[in-house]
């Protein structure tokens, strides 16, 4: 490709809508193996999508709704289920063109900016671009490349210096490098995977201006987001996904925020243009049979006053890097807490709703003493513990049930019984110096006896277990420690329906027995069923607090997606 190709960029094309659409998807289905052997989960279930030249199209949905999978199918990264593929499934400019690989998709003219950019930090911007462009000639013509990058960057106001090393760039600048890379590679459809998640608010506006400029030049933009405001701000059309299906698709002017949220979270008042509500949009996770949706916060007649004691309190807790006004990385300290305050009493379950990555993980890291608390304090049973070690936290009765058991809680090469023993180590169990097989076996047996779900045998290495089995071993280990403060991340993820129900019952039992629990989940149904109170987190802050009875999914959904 040479500089003359600049003139043949897609703005020469007719993009007013006549002629075949740029991309047409019909009935795209993509399944992944489920937690139980032999089962599958459809991440995309019969999705239709039409994209015209010069169109900005937002794909909106919660985490796990299938947005990323759909983008990866379009980009040739995932192959859709073969049994559901027909020539109509994937048409590019009216012709069947299902790409078998990202390279094939790139040849069609599709480019994708991933969330974790595919840039090499130690190389310069120009080198990264050169690596990506199809090779012509043995030499790197640096000067020419730099000129062309500057040309494109100038056209779209993307201030980037082609000579800089990528690891000196902010995340927003890296995103622009990715974009220039795709433009130079002559992509006509630009796919962005959650492009705003790495940007500060003012950078978001800049990105949207770039989108508009691209549109004016005839490029098509497909971006995914879970923020309603963003979907409405810039797009021509919006498609909403929920649980792998399209719940609404229409020009964005026909939506307002509440109607989009309804389509996202699955409530009744979908906009008139929405596709018929699919059957699966009903809550897929049945509520535990014996429990009322919101169990009584405290049951005075059986517990007495002691149970009202505050077990855990966060007072204005902030973590992570302090915002530095002069830093070029401003606004990109992701995941930290920002003046978070809440308290949980004994016998209470506090639900934390929010899209993943909005500070939930920092809650547990701060509680365990793994992430320093920059400001504010954490109190366990009224005692401030800020600056504590993991061991202090565990001995203080804290139990964190992590999101990813295999990497954060288990030693994969150890046996099940050894991993159960490991769960008690930080709490001084077993005490003493010697440790023999009997100690391990007895401890494992005791934990197993108090755990109602079936568990893998004691001798199996954890590495060999299925995801659901690993989750059960971890739960047994954590719940069997007699902790009084639980912080559980997505505790039913990866479990079958029965086990998930049993796990929820276990949490309720712990709570009824006087433990305080914080439940972090993205599943609103689960949160509403279990929690006494509900917090919504957004960008490291508490965005709202509800009693489950007075919370509406729409309202929570709006708060979760930053729409206040």
């Amino acid at each position: 490709m040479s500089a003359e190709n600049l003139e043949t960029s897609p703005n020469q094309d007719n993009h007013t809508g006549n002629g075949p659409p740029l991309l047409e998807l019909r009935g795209i289905t993509k399944s992944f193996p489920g937690p139980a052997p032999g089962t599958t989960i459809a991440a995309n279930d019969g999705i239709d999508l039409t994209l015209r030249r010069g169109e900005i199209h937002a794909v909106l949905g919660e985490n796990g709704s299938g947005k990323s999978t759909l983008m990866k199918v379009i980009y040739g990264y995932h192959a859709p289920d073969a049994s559901k593929v027909s020539p109509d499934s994937y048409r590019w400019l009216g012709r069947p063109a299902l790409p078998g690989s990202p390279a094939a998709a790139r040849r069609l003219g599709i480019g994708m900016v991933f969330q974790d950019f595919s840039l090499i930090p130690a190389l310069s911007v120009a080198e990264n671009v050169a690596l990506f462009l199809p090779g012509q000639g043995r030499m790197l013509r640096r000067r020419q490349l730099v000129r062309r990058i500057e040309q494109f960057a100038g056209e779209y106001d993307l201030e980037i210096d082609p000579r800089q090393r990528v690891d000196d760039l902010s995340l927003g600048e890296r995103q622009r490098v990715e974009l220039v890379k795709l433009l130079l590679a002559e992509a006509r459809l630009l796919i962005f995977d959650e492009p705003t998640s790495v940007l500060a608010p003012h950078e978001v506006d800049g990105l949207f201006r770039v989108f508009s400029a691209l549109k004016d030049n005839g490029y098509s933009v497909l971006f995914i987001t879970h923020k309603v405001r963003e979907a409405l701000a810039v797009s021509d059309n919006v498609t909403v996904l929920r649980r792998g299906r399209v719940t609404a698709t229409a020009p964005s002017r026909r939506f307002d925020a509440p109607s989009l949220v309804a389509a996202m979270v699955g409530a009744e008042n979908a906009p008139p243009s929405a596709a018929p509500e699919p059957a699966s949009a009903a809550p897929a996770v049945p509520k535990p049979p014996q429990t009322p949706p919101a169990h009584p916060p405290t049951t005075p007649e059986q517990t007495g006053g002691a149970q009202k004691e505050t077990a855990l309190e966060f007072r204005e807790v902030s973590t992570g890097r302090a915002p530095r006004p002069l830093s070029r990385f401003r606004g990109t300290t992701p995941g930290g807490l920002n003046a978070v305050s809440f308290s949980v009493r004994r016998g209470e379950i506090l639900g934390v709703a929010g899209v993943a990555g909005n500070g939930q993980r920092a809650l547990g890291e701060a509680l365990l003493g793994l992430e320093p608390v920059r400001r504010g304090s954490i109190l366990l049973f009224g005692q401030p513990v800020t600056g504590h070690t993991v061991s202090d936290a565990l001995k203080g009765g804290v139990s964190v049930i992590p999101e990813n058991p295999l990497s954060d809680a288990m030693v994969p090469d150890m046996r099940v019984d050894e991993n159960l023993l490991l769960a008690g180590l930080g709490r001084g169990r077993p005490a003493g110096f010697w440790l023999n097989r009997n100690t391990i076996a007895n401890r494992a047996e005791a934990i197993r006896a108090g755990f109602p779900l079936t568990m893998a045998g004691p001798a199996a290495p954890v590495r060999s277990l299925s995801g659901g089995n690993i989750q059960r071993v971890m739960l047994a280990g954590e719940l069997g420690q007699g902790a009084s403060i639980f912080l559980a991340y997505y505790p039913t993820r990866g479990l079958d329906v029965l086990s998930a129900g049993a796990t929820r019952r276990l949490l309720l039992e712990q709570s009824n027995a006087g433990a305080a629990a914080v439940l972090v989940s993205e599943d609103l149904d689960e949160l509403l069923a279990l929690s006494d109170r509900l917090l919504v987190m957004y960008r490291g802050r508490i965005a709202g607090e509800f009693a489950p009875s007075e919370a509406s999914p729409q309202e929570i959904g709006l708060l979760m997606t930053g729409h206040t």
Partner: protein, 356 residues
């Protein structure tokens, strides 16, 4: 927190290599050794000798003779110790390439006791030397552990470089201030007196230093499998992140394992000078540190499998010596045989995952 350990899967360390012999069906190990012998035989044939004859002679001289067996034992003494010097840190997720250097500093420290703190009674002298050997090796390893903790220098490169510094340090002393004035200019220290010598069984070189690897193996095995310490150490090596979240002081356990490994290699150095050489001189270790590393790695850092792995290596090393006598081949040929065995056993290892 710059003392962060890499997860086994992300670090192309010894850990990532996984067990070699341990995970290998015995048949493959035998096949690997047999293939190596066959290739070796072809080379012997090429040099104009009858390979079967040579190997038969080697067999008679190594396994079939009491002297040969005693030599295998003598070779195994330091090998088991340096293998443990790699295996113990490996169980806590660290890679100790520094056995060679730690062996030298251990020998240096033990010799220092003989030269400067001499005691007449062997019952006092030998334990003192052993302690000094452990301290010498342990301190050398501690330097690597500190560099790792404070400056983020990975222990692979620091222990490797420290090997050469240690060897040069020994040379500097034996060519310089420690040289025996009556030694006709040879770079040896004064010969140790009887109190500083590990006695040998009459007619052989097999000496009482053999107790050291036996005791070390038992102690390490018991600590790793029968104590809370060992359990925590294995947890640190198995998944440092999970261990940290269980309240285990990951940094401290990793450093302790490294220092323990260094101490064991240092003990090997003491055993070599007190049991074999009876003085300090250049070349006290014919790659014993590296061979120990490879034995431990062949054994998948499994303490029990280390014994046969070291036995195998010792047999090949002694075979080289025997071939030198019987077939006129250089003794280093044994090293070539070990290399062949390693390549083949590794090449036959079943892959757990496809490389990119």
């Amino acid at each position: 927190m710059n003392f962060r350990l890499k997860l086994p899967d992300s670090a192309p360390s010894l850990q990532a290599a996984g067990p070699a012999l341990a995970g290998l069906p015995a048949a493959r190990a035998v096949l690997g050794v047999a293939l190596a012998l066959a290739i070796f035989g072809v080379f012997i044939l090429a040099s104009g000798r009858d390979p079967l004859d040579a190997l038969q002679g080697a067999w008679r001289g190594v396994i079939g003779s009491p002297f040969g067996l005693s030599e295998v034992g003598v070779t195994m003494i330091p090998l088991v110790l340096t293998a443990l010097a790699t295996a113990i840190p490996a169980r806590a997720g660290l890679v100790n390439v520094g056995g060679e250097g730690q062996l030298h500093t251990g020998a240096l420290a033990a010799t220092g006791i003989v030269l400067y703190f001499h005691v007449g009674a062997p019952a006092l002298m030998l334990p003192l030397m052993a302690l000094a050997g452990c301290a010498g090796g342990g301190l050398w390893a501690a330097a690597a552990a500190l560099l790792r903790r404070w400056r983020g220098v990975n222990e692979v490169i620091s222990t490797l470089l420290a090997n050469y510094i240690a060897i040069l340090l020994v040379n500097m002393l034996v060519f310089g201030p420690w040289k025996n004035p009556d030694g006709l200019g040879y770079p040896y220290t004064i010969p140790f007196d009887a109190a500083a010598i590990l006695p040998a069984i009459a007619g052989t070189r097999f000496h009482w230093g053999a107790l050291a690897p036996v005791l070390a193996l038992i102690v390490c095995y018991v600590i790793l499998t029968r104590t809370v310490w060992g359990f925590k150490m294995r947890a640190v090596g198995g998944n440092p992140e999970a261990a940290r979240r269980r309240g285990i002081a990951v940094d401290r356990y990793a450093a302790a394992a490294m220092i323990a490994g260094g101490a064991l290699a240092g003990l090997a150095g003491m055993v070599e000078v007190a049991g074999i050489h009876h003085d300090l001189r250049p070349g006290i270790s014919a790659n014993l540190g590296y061979l120990g590393l490879l034995a431990s790695w062949l054994a998948g850092h499994n303490l029990l499998v280390i014994i046969p792995a070291c036995f195998l290596m010792a047999v090949f090393l002694v075979t080289g010596d025997v071939l030198q006598l019987t077939a006129g081949l250089p003794s280093a040929a044994g090293m070539a045989l070990i290399g062949l065995v390693l390549f083949l056993v590794l090449g036959l290892r079943r892959l757990e995952r496809r490389p990119l």
